[in-house]
Amino acid sequence: MTLSPERKRELLCQMYTIRAFEEKAEELYAMGKVHGTMHLSIGMEASAVGSIAALRPDDLILSTHRGHGHCIAKGADLNKMMAEFMGKETGYCRGRGGSMHIADVESGNLGANGVVAGGIPIAVGVGLGLKMQRRDQIILCFFGDGAANTGAFHESLNMAAIWSLPVVYVCENNQYAMSLSVRKAFAIERISDRAAAYGIPGVTVDGNDVMAVYEAVKKAVDRARAGGGPTLVENVTYRWRGHSKSDVNRYRTREEIEAWKKKCPIKRFRARLIEEGILTEEEADRIRDEAYAAVDAAVAFAEASPEPSLDTIEEGVYA
């Protein structure tokens, strides 16, 4: 289950790229270059990267409204992603989807989702379709702590469990469903305890430890691929930024946010790789700088890209 040094460097690179993308997204928004809203996963990069590291390239994911990290970790082209974010014709969805609906089907990303828990039932169908076609792929479905309190969660985990579908459910518990703390929204200690209700394994991991996430999800992926059915993995993490652009953090303290920033998943993984002798400080800096440069190049690509033509406004509704 150990990853090669090369692979670990790649994971650090992905984490930096996500951070760079989202910091840039915030900046572009502040500059008035994008409209609409966005949901940033800054501080949660280990959850996206560690989970997807456990997949094969041909495996599939369903993402969430907070999905930039999932998309990048699944291998998205930053240019197309940034172009989508900026509403350009060259974006993944020709500018029709935006931040909340980026899909990159060729890389196996079946889409972010604007509805909390929207992807959870779809994962049942994807898992069912894969199983019926005897394809050896699995579907990994991300969702947040808020989604775990919807009816969709209950219906879907049960259905995936009774049919032993090749689904891995990854709950990114970032402590808040918009403003509602998990302490107020759950009467149980761990969201993964709910797995017992469906007769499937449930595991809670430190979601800021990329290797711990990888190991837990890998076990779930192997189990799903072997026909053992779904697993519920809970990655305990924290979003540093507000829920969306309208959030002024009235429901939590600055001290709490600062305490979590000290647990930065990127700094932690970087330090570990240096300690393991996989990287030097200079090499780590280079990885970081390359990630920020790639994002800058993506912005340049997006800014130079055309807006969708008004003549095409009605395209793509029906096949």
Binding site: H101, A103, N113, P121, L128, M159, A319
Partner: protein
């Protein structure tokens, strides 16, 4: 030609498509050994097995999610929602997900599924098992809405819906399940978006959907004895809508009565009336467009009240007569 009931015609379409295409499967509540609440899928589990005729727990939202997800990875699912009333529970996946995936993803994905569901009153099942909610889905870009009125149409439209690359809401009527009519044995399709003139006439046009087509045809028989020749047009698919056939008929007769079972306010009749009023047929109208639809009430339990909640043959006769005689 051989006769089949509406339910048998639907079953035959399912069977033939499942034989033809192994990607087609059935999923819903009690669709297996039970055969569905109205027996439509009876016997299919024996022929195709549990893998392709899948009984689900009572989880409508996830039935809709399951057909969406399976369609995304290359299957062609046919879901069933036991009563159209329960489609309320599945709406999130249908309206926010299935209908929009293609557009949101820049026209790159497709979601080919059919969701069959029985609508309509007349069974004494009262307010939560009798609704006709088709127009909600007509309102959603990305969905198609099909409503067959005869066994022949049911088979041809269902096969076309299964072969269509979009999510299709296929609305059946409970009281039609036992109605018999000629149905060819071989598979055939009726293209979605083609209305049919079910009866020709010169004096007025009745545009009716689902069971109201049958009632309109009975009304037309009676009116013919009085010398009033009614043309009955069945859109067959509400979305896409064959506006041309409708407009042509109205131009020919100059008078139009729209009949559907769903509540009048916000029902499909309003859309039909607007389509006619906006078209060149407006200049040919000799009378106001008239709608005859379900009352704006939940369906009552009591037999008499239930009967009078939605248009019956005698209501259609009366409304058509008034219109033909220029009393509107």
């Amino acid at each position: 030609m051989r006769e089949l009931s509406y339910a048998e015609a639907i079953r035959e379409a399912l069977r033939q498509e499942m034989q033809r295409d192994e990607r087609v499967f059935i999923i819903g509540e009690d669709v297996g050994v039970y055969g569905g609440a109205f027996g439509v899928t009876l016997g299919l589990i024996e022929e195709f097995g549990e893998e392709r005729v899948i009984d689900t727990p009572i989880s409508e939202l996830t039935i809709a999610g399951a057909i969406t997800g399976a369609a995304l990875v290359g299957m062609r699912p046919v879901g069933e929602i036991m009563f159209m009333d329960f489609i309320t529970l599945a709406s999130e996946q249908l309206v926010n997900q299935a209908a929009k995936i293609r557009f949101m993803f820049g026209g790159k994905e497709k979601v080919p599924f059919v969701l069959r569901t029985p609508a309509g009153s007349g069974t004494g099942a009262a307010a939560q098992h009798s609704q006709s909610l088709e127009n909600w889905f007509v309102h959603i870009p990305g969905l198609k809405v099909v409503m067959p009125s005869t066994p022949y149409d049911a088979k041809g439209l269902l096969i076309a819906s299964i072969r269509d690359d979009n999510p299709v809401i296929f609305v059946e009527h409970k009281l039609l399940y036992k109605v018999k009519g000629p149905v060819p044995e071989e598979p055939y399709t009726i293209p979605l978006g083609t209305a049919e003139v079910k009866r020709e006439g010169r004096d007025l046009t009745i545009i009716a959907t689902s069971i109201m087509v049958q009632r309109a045809l009975q009304a037309a028989e009676q009116l013919a004895e009085e010398g009033i020749e009614v043309e009955v047009v069945d859109p067959r698919t509400l979305k896409p809508l064959d506006k041309e056939t409708i407009i042509r008929s109205v131009i020919k007769t100059g008078r139009v009565l729209i009949v559907h079972e769903a509540c009048k306010t916000g029902g499909f009749g309003g859309e039909l009336a607007a389509v006619i009023a906006e078209s060149e047929a407006f200049d040919y109208l000799d009378a106001p467009i008239v709608r005859l639809a379900g009352r704006d009430i939940p369906i009552p339990y009591n037999r008499t009240l239930e009967y009078h909640a939605v248009p019956q043959v005698e209501n259609i006769v009366e409304a058509a007569r008034r219109l033909a005689e220029g009393r509107v």
